[in-house]
Subunit: 245 residues, 2 copies
């Protein structure tokens, strides 16, 4: 199988014109959306619905009163004043999504870049949320599945490349020693250069430094840098919800 990589979120719009019917896409938004999704699914959440805007999350709660809402702005859980009167149940820290809170629940989560990247893969054969937390499980699944192509999608931050997403794409590429595109080689080499102290490399990223500056979120960086602590695949269903597989 061929392994290609989108390093920058500015490469997402062109996906609309790309044939993806034989492609398994893996989206990485390491700090912190996809790491959080994988954690919540591991701890028993029924489904995660990623949305871009606070208003979309609130609208889904109005349709279905038992969904939980997750999201933050500037590191702080969304409060009633920001969402037209609805207090969110979670921020976006993966450490909040404990088994007692998420088991059996559907969680609507606001994340701009993560949602944009997952939606951009629209017509793909398969869309997965990837993270360091379930990296080997994802690699094993793809190795068994053998799609024509694997597309590693780095969600990035705003319009920019996020180092930690590229490192995760490179780490997965290293486990899938197949025919690799130039961008995949870039990601893989970047990972191989960093792997002896991956946590430090992730902490040196723009997002890593930003989270480090918020005392209650500091531990998220180390949490999201853990490798292979969860043995599951996070797969998007036809309705746009991520579910455990």
């Amino acid at each position: 199988m061929k392994i290609d990589t989108l390093l920058s979120p500015q490469e997402l719009p062109a996906l609309a014109h790309r044939e993806l019917s034989g492609t398994a896409c893996v989206v990485f938004d390491i700090l912190r959306a996809t790491s959080t999704f994988v954690t919540a699914l591991h701890h028993g959440a029924e489904a995660i619905i990623p949305v871009s805007e606070i208003a979309e999350a609130v609208a889904l709660r109005q349709q279905q009163s038992d969904v939980l809402l997750a999201g933050e702005r500037d590191g702080v859980r969304i409060r009633a004043a920001q969402s037209g009167g609805v207090d969110f149940d979670f921020g976006n820290s993966p450490r909040e999504f404990t088994p007692d809170k998420v088991r059996g629940k559907t969680i609507v989560s606001t994340t701009t870049n993560g949602t944009r990247a997952l939606r951009a893969c629209g017509d793909a054969k398969m869309i997965l949320a990837g993270s360091f937390l379930n990296l080997s499980a994802t690699a094993k699944f793809l190795t068994k599945l053998q799609p024509e192509e694997v597309l590693l999608v780095c969600a990035g931050t705003g319009e920019g490349v996020a180092l930690e997403d590229v490192l995760a794409a490179g780490a997965l590429a290293e486990l899938l020693a197949d025919e690799q595109s130039d961008s995949t080689q870039v990601a893989r080499q970047s990972f191989l250069r960093s792997k002896l102290d991956l946590a430090a490399a992730i902490a040196s990223s723009t997002n890593g430094r930003r989270l480090f500056g918020i005392p209650e979120l500091r531990a998220d960086v180390a949490f999201c840098s853990q490798r292979d602590v969860f043995n599951l695949i996070a797969l998007m269903d036809a309705g746009g919800s991520l579910r455990r597989m």
Copy 2:
């Protein structure tokens, strides 16, 4: 100074909305446009005018009969049948641009991605053509100049990332140990992982393998992988010509 990097040509259109008045841009199209420009300038060419299309090159020759034309399609020098009756003087192999042929001449060179990247930097404080051949000279110049920002622009191939351009950007970033963006860190790590056998890494790229498959162009890959053989800066003037500095 801040060092940022555009890894993919799909990031070029957004440059139109970016403030570049304090930015020195360095464009890399290692196999082979910018390597060729630097070589021709080193060997005494007066100026290089990069253009995208064969027709633009032919029009410039009609205006100014003493310019020389350079360009290839599928590895072969452009022939009269492809250009409305004008035989081109050179292909795009840097080894063709010898002192006896280029001294004092203005050369119009067709290159799709190289031209697109140079033009996308339109309003920058300064635009340079970079290559491994003049890497340290370029780094020294930027270190003296100390612009607010250096933007390393990987021209790529078609719509895709070209490994060799990212390696060159990373090699320059390694010489400019300043405040580096996430994408710059990616390029730098990729270079550092490859530097012990840089020529092999460049040869493993999509363009490297393509050129290796054309017997008369095979030697171009090793030529363009040479580091610091020319001590010059290739600077774009206000009229869109590259000149030696």
